[in-house]
Symmetry: C2
Subunit: 239 residues, 2 copies
DNA sequence: CATATAACTAACCGGATAGTGAATAGCGCG
DNA sequence: CGCGCTATTCACTATCCGGTTAGTTATATG
């Protein structure tokens, strides 16, 4: 804990907010979304981005809204202008990151791939996403630490996951029909396992590296892990 | 966040600290560890227990040392008597819970079981331990959120895990020699996968239940998950 | 039984912390 | 071009919080 906010009481940010002030106004009329002195969307986005980083770094309880305001180069008051309170900001961040992963995932177009290739692609995507977005893992952990109460009444969260299970189910059904996968695999359990073998390895990389006495995030180790997981999932689904 | 500590400034606990005061002293001399008015070990243990619950509930950043003192029925000053600071207390809690799981695990005596039975027993133990000790999962997550820095210089933590990998390796080697497991399985990766398929399911039960629209901790669902995991691990190791 | 030691307590501190009230000032629209 | 809306700022508060100061008292030991 100790001191991590600035020593001065107020955030003190947003000082050098608008370096070119007078002449920017001229082209503001012509250019659609040119740099405006006031830009609600941009400010809101900066707050969300800063909040994401801060919540991911210290958890909901450890994050400080003064620090978030500072990192967003926004006045703290703006946070309470756009969001009800700290918990509401956390909810917004969670919705944002889930929307991101689900959007990227949809681009895989698993229905267009052969069953085995689809499973391969899905596992690889999940692994790579977790690896490149450690904040996602931390935020999901934090959401669950708080028993998912921030997402309980989130319509957006629920909507994001409609069609998520059916998609994998179609892959499994096609595989079974082609005789390459066994019958009756529960897509939910398979999905959970596909996520688990990557997620656990990556969130627990620190205690893991200490426990096993070897660096789990060394490039070679990461490659090995993906290969092990690919093989594991293949073995789970095949006849 | 809001208010969760008592409204009064000071913890206010430790009021009804010693109901039987006068007569307890008499038998203190004869009985080895009889109920004493002052008991360093007991106080330290109560602090650790309270800290475990509080850290597991709110994370390192969200936990309040005033609350820990209150729940431990101890004066806050005692926490700083036994531990350097909040981080040191967190480290002590982590060492404690890891010692617990590794001690229980050692009792399985996997070397005395047939390879397949040993793997079965190990997976079932891990699953059941996670299920009965949700604090363990939360604490490990918190430790990793903080990049494992609390355990980095912990000799005790390192010692707890010597012999952990070799144990599973012996099971795998015996299985391979008997021709029931395939050759060359990395015990570290298998171990991680065995932990992962239970851990991920249980730590992410809240977001998971919301995402899949079904209660993941319903008794029937838990049974199904264990069966799915048993089957998965068998498929991963067999020829 | 005297006493040194260590367990234990009350009260306190200064900076941090989530959240607000009220005024200012760009920007879009008529 | 002026006016209403709202993005933005500044100043402020009440409480919280990790950690400490300055003791008091039970108990093991000789």
């Amino acid at each position: 804990m100790k001191t991590q906010a600035s020593a001065t009481g107020t955030p003190g940010a947003a000082k050098a907010k608008r370096p070119p002030a007078a002449d920017t106004r001229a082209r503001a009329a012509s250019v659609p979304a040119a740099r405006r002195v006031r830009d609600a969307d941009a400010t809101r986005a900066r707050i969300l981005e800063a909040a994401k980083k801060e919540f991911a770094k210290l958890g909901l309880g450890g994050a400080r809204v003064d620090v978030i305001a500072m990192r967003a180069k926004a006045n703290k008051r703006m946070i309470y202008h756009y969001f009800k309170d700290k918990d509401d900001l956390f909810r917004a961040v969670l919705e944002e990151v889930y929307a991101d992963i689900r959007t990227m995932e949809a681009k895989l177009d698993l229905d267009a791939l052969e069953p085995e290739a689809a499973l391969h692609a899905f596992l690889a995507f999940t692994w790579t996403y977790y690896l490149k977005h450690p904040e996602f893992l931390a935020l999901v952990n934090s959401a669950n630490l708080h028993k998912g109460r921030h997402l309980l009444r989130s319509e957006r969260f629920r909507e994001l996951h409609i069609g998520f299970v059916p998609l994998l189910d179609r892959v499994l059904k096609r595989g079974a029909a082609q005789g390459v996968f066994r019958e009756g695999i529960d897509p939910v359990h398979l999905n959970i396992t596909i996520a688990a073998v990557g997620y656990y390895y990556l969130t627990n990389r620190y205690t893991g590296s200490l426990m096993y006495g070897r660096d789990l995030v060394d490039p070679k180790a990461l490659e090995e892990r993906l290969a092990f997981n690919m093989d594991s999932i293949s073995r789970i689904v095949r006849l």
